[in-house]
Symmetry: C2
Subunit: 112 residues, 2 copies
């Protein structure tokens, strides 16, 4: 699960019908600052939240915007390549894959 704030809001609302979307955003922000969860700022999409705070990559379906963990280890040495070739002081990197989830892949088939 890599829910957006609104998806989470809909879920939480079943238990806490009076909660507001603003509170969901606020608490997600706090949790990610504490390092309990991870805020995913995926390119060209709304923010999503990941319960696993450890570093890992993601793959996003361009059809339905579903996000899944990418089964590939973090590339720690990637940043080393830049140390002597850029004037920037490197802080980190983000790698994301795009693709089609099985359902959207099937849709695509049908349409062609």
């Amino acid at each position: 699960m890599h829910p957006s704030a609104d998806e989470l809001y809909q879920l939480v609302r079943k238990r806490l019908p009076r909660i507001s979307l603003g509170t969901v955003y606020r608490n997600l922000e706090i949790l990610s600052e504490l390092g309990e969860i991870q805020k995913l700022e995926l390119s060209g999409s709304l923010k999503r939240y990941d319960g696993h705070p450890h570093r890992h990559y993601h793959i996003r379906c361009v059809g339905c915007d579903t996000v899944a963990d990418a089964p590939i280890a973090p590339l720690a040495q990637l940043e080393d390549e830049l140390y002597h070739t850029t004037v920037f002081e490197i802080i980190g990197h983000n790698l994301e894959f795009t693709g089609l989830c099985p359902a959207c892949s099937r849709e695509q088939e049908k349409a062609s």
Copy 2:
């Protein structure tokens, strides 16, 4: 230069004072669909446009949001690693670095 739509608007306006921001957006969209330019959807930032349509990575300053080309070759084989380990049909990937540009790096020094 990796200008945002608004930065480009400010520039173009010097030559075409009557142009509107909407027109800038519309034409940037057309140009990127034609493959003449590249639309950069960097995570956690507004869209930026790159005059070079070929694939390359970028590094973004977390201080001032400046974007520069990352001097590293595209990692074509990256996607291969996923072919047998994900149920997604892989389309592509995006790698972006974060860091501090020289100016913001100096600011940081001063503050500490």
